[in-house]
Symmetry: C2
Subunit: 255 residues, 2 copies
Amino acid sequence: MRRPRILVTNDDGINAPGIKALVDIAKQYGDPFVVAPDSPQSGQGHAITITKPLFLKKVDVFEGIEAYECSGTPADCVKLAKNVLLKDDTIDLCVSGINHGSNASINIIYSGTMSAAMEASLEGIRSIGFSLLDFSFEADFSAAKHFGSMIIEKMLAYNSKKNILLNVNIPKLPTKEIKGIKICEQGEGVWTEDFKESQDPRGQKYYWLTGSFDADLENTKSDLWALRNGYVSIVPSQHNLTDYESMDSLKNFEK
Amino acid sequence: MRRPRILVTNDDGINAPGIKALVDIAKQYGDPFVVAPDSPQSGQGHAITITKPLFLKKVDVFEGIEAYECSGTPADCVKLAKNVLLKDDTIDLCVSGINHGSNASINIIYSGTMSAAMEASLEGIRSIGFSLLDFSFEADFSAAKHFGSMIIEKMLAYNSKKNILLNVNIPKLPTKEIKGIKICEQGEGVWTEDFKESQDPRGQKYYWLTGSFDADLENTKSDLWALRNGYVSIVPSQHNLTDYESMDSLKNFEK
């Protein structure tokens, strides 16, 4: 039997420790094929590159694994993998990450990691985005690898025609302190932004985004609640943004 | 009574004809305040700028209207307007566009125009993204202005505590040939990508994204159907991407 082909990408760039951890897991279950940005792309949302050309370069970053760095965004990487590099080959699963930092709640909207997973899903490929709640470059990925392995194994065995896209977040805890895995709803939260004002060397005023995230922890079905209470959260996600609830009340906009 | 303050932004840049058309409509109903990118940002998705500083410059582009150009993305423009420029003032409505090209169906995911409207919505501001199905810089915005006026007027009068975000698309037709306005679901469609391969002046191979969109026109409730049949489409949209239908079938991922 053919081993599953697993496309691996991320948004922190091909040299980030998180993608190394993800390749290590993926190769236990299949043949990883890596296409990742050549530089960090955090906060890229679902950006795609349409106004300039993209470059791909074969690199030897992961021993014995075919890997390419790309000048574009995470979503560009997935498009190039599917439509240029692996044209006639099946991709059985796409995994993105492991992101350095949370993509729970509304952060899925801003996330380059999840945009790659979403792009794969739009292209008909089952996919998972993984994020660890630790921004540090020296983050400890052992819990993320432990639970990530379990989730990839289950995803490869999962029998459904429906396309599945998972947003997985792992708390910053030692493996043995994590209580388990929960299937969750996307939680509600609000970013309170603050722009740090300063001046560039030529005296021009600039603004640098910073802010804090206020999580709604009331909803015990949410990813935010699960993470705060020591669980790995999985939010099954999809691309239909229709606000069905508001449709009726807007009927008088019709003419 | 105070006139409504209307934040105007876009993704084609502050000098695009589409934003000029939108300011013209907005000033009939309130006081426009413009913060828009200093250059085109198409395909930016929900990108935000976190790894570098942002610059704002007051400009005199729209007669008698306070306007700023910003070095960042559409979502950055909304964040800066709310948190730096209009800190203590209410924004009653945010309008984004008028985009040169469709943002119907899954294109909302890739859209800078809609990311600005979505960002406003996440910040608690009622908002509308407008797109005209005509990529041309010389596009005729008269139908978009006609229907855009009606929709802005209704939105300002709409009485609801719930935050409302509208994805409005206008067919490329003369005003009198447009049959009306429909409240729709987000339609399903697939991009078939094609990368044009070529070489840069130094002989390095590059790839340039191109592609065609295959619309599902079976669903008569969809924005794609409405547009194809001569209607302006309005899709009420929201930011919760949870795939509720798949939650039960994934329960065995829990432990």
